[in-house]
Amino acid sequence: MKKLKALFSALTLAAALVPGVVQAKEKSSFDICWSIYVGWMPWDYGASSGIVKKWADKYDIDINVVQINDYVESINQYSAGQFDACTMTNMDALTIPAASGVDSTALIVGDFSNGNDGVVLKGASKLSDIKGQKVNLVELSVSHYLLARGLESVGLSEKDISVVNTSDADMVAAYGTADVSAVTTWNPLLSEIEAMPNSNKVFDSSNIPGEIIDLLVVNTDVLADNPKLGKALVGAWYEIMATMQVKDSARVQMAEASGTNLAGFDAQLATTKMFFDAADAVKFTKSPELVKTMQYVAEFSFKHGILGDGADDASFIGIETPAGVYGDKNNIKLRFNPSYMQMKAEGKL
């Protein structure tokens, strides 16, 4: 009996793993995940204030908003099919779900980092001083990408430095030690580190505006079968955007949920180019610069071996944007689709 039970539980475990790929069909209940970051805190407010529910009710569906503490884990969960949508950056959308063969659509282009990610040196004031140093960062993340772009701008390459993979949770403590002299990280850690004595921010994402983009990514098949989900999410998002601009209490709640206060949160917002207006996001998504940015990101990712096993070159994965496709047209796995944001801009939601 016991053996039978054990076998049975093993079978259910295996079965639980099998249908993990999101079943594409019309359904009425959806799970979306988000993690702590200034550009994604609105989802927390939207869920607790009832705005998300209001829009879900309007389209007669259910939307469950789930916070995941570990950012990478949230993307992995989405890629494995446990969530229908998730918040992530453009680079992670390419290297994790798209490289895993999960066709993903950037439904909402929420903002881009405009100083939220930066390189900090101890006791040196220009980026070229980084030569020969050990740089602590989360390897293969947008920090790594930012550093590579920064090095490029001063005629250096990754060969001129050595990177030390350091978990984001320990970044601030690590910077406090004597043998760490250079870090690349993001907010709120960045502002914490910048405030320490003898520290200089020598390069940040405002030097490469529009390249580190924060998205809400939806499984393309799920979206195709359930356009109501796209409409409800976009509708809710821009109502939250409108609310947080006029209501301090909304931003206070977002600040507290991310472990800071209103002043700290507003400081982070100042280095984030939020697209409060849907029309701005649509314009950004349609611009030819986005193709260029995604090409940089794809080339960086390929060079670091994170485009997946099948990748023979940077253009292995097709990236579709309104201004054109970068990469393989027969293997499109990441799509920038502004049509829902467009509906909002035209008042059709």
Binding site: V18, A80, G101, S162, N165, A173, V180, H304, G305
Partner: protein, 275 residues
Amino acid sequence: MKRLINLAPSRPFSVLLAILPFAVLVVLYIAASDARLAENANDKLLPSIAQFSAAIERMAFEPSKRTGEYLLWVDTAASLWRLFQGVMISALMGLIFGACMGLFPYARSAMSPLFVAISLIPPMAILPILFIVFGLGEVSKVVLIVIGIAPFIIRDMQARVLELPKEQLIKAQTLGANSWQILVRVVLPQIMPRLIALVSLSLGAAWLFLIAGEAIAAQEGLGYRIFLVRRYMAMDVILPYVAWITFLAFITDYALKQLSRKSFPWFHALQGAKS
């Protein structure tokens, strides 16, 4: 009358029985993996056997595109060296402090409560302090292992010394031995095999602390690689690494057992008699 408790499998049959659960797991895995890959050929969660062998080939036998190193071997060497240092320092501390605290009441009174207290601190909770004191380099990873396992070895060694029969110590004294001679001739030989057993027991925890340390900051190592490729869900690298770690742990455990049997046959004869 035949009872279930009296039925034992024959030798070949027991080997077969031992293999069976592994075979069932492998079959279940392959079935689940095939099902997922059939839906999405690029799925990374449950890679196929072919993907595993490609990943092993890439990690172990091809120079890395970025550094030109053979990653698996570089990682293995780095991790084993850290593990060796941490475990050796802990064993040495266990031997010295444990024996002294067991044998000398003054040492026991002075240090035992301290080590009890230290052994109760969860090492992961004081990590930021360890960084500040020991830096982010190799030292802090070794220290994390030492803080994790040394107090437990020390406490157990003290208990083992206290377990030695009083008569032995009295007899050695009537034969004119001083404290040093008793320590070296009576206590040490008897606790050595127990130390080896303790080290092999603490290896599991040592691996845990090693991988935790490498997850926080590192440039190479088995734990480092797992946490790095976890960023893009490369289970085709992670699972072989886990299997490799399991294999290394098994080999060390086996080697320690053989060492103990070869060096202290009398101890194992005694153990055999007891059980």
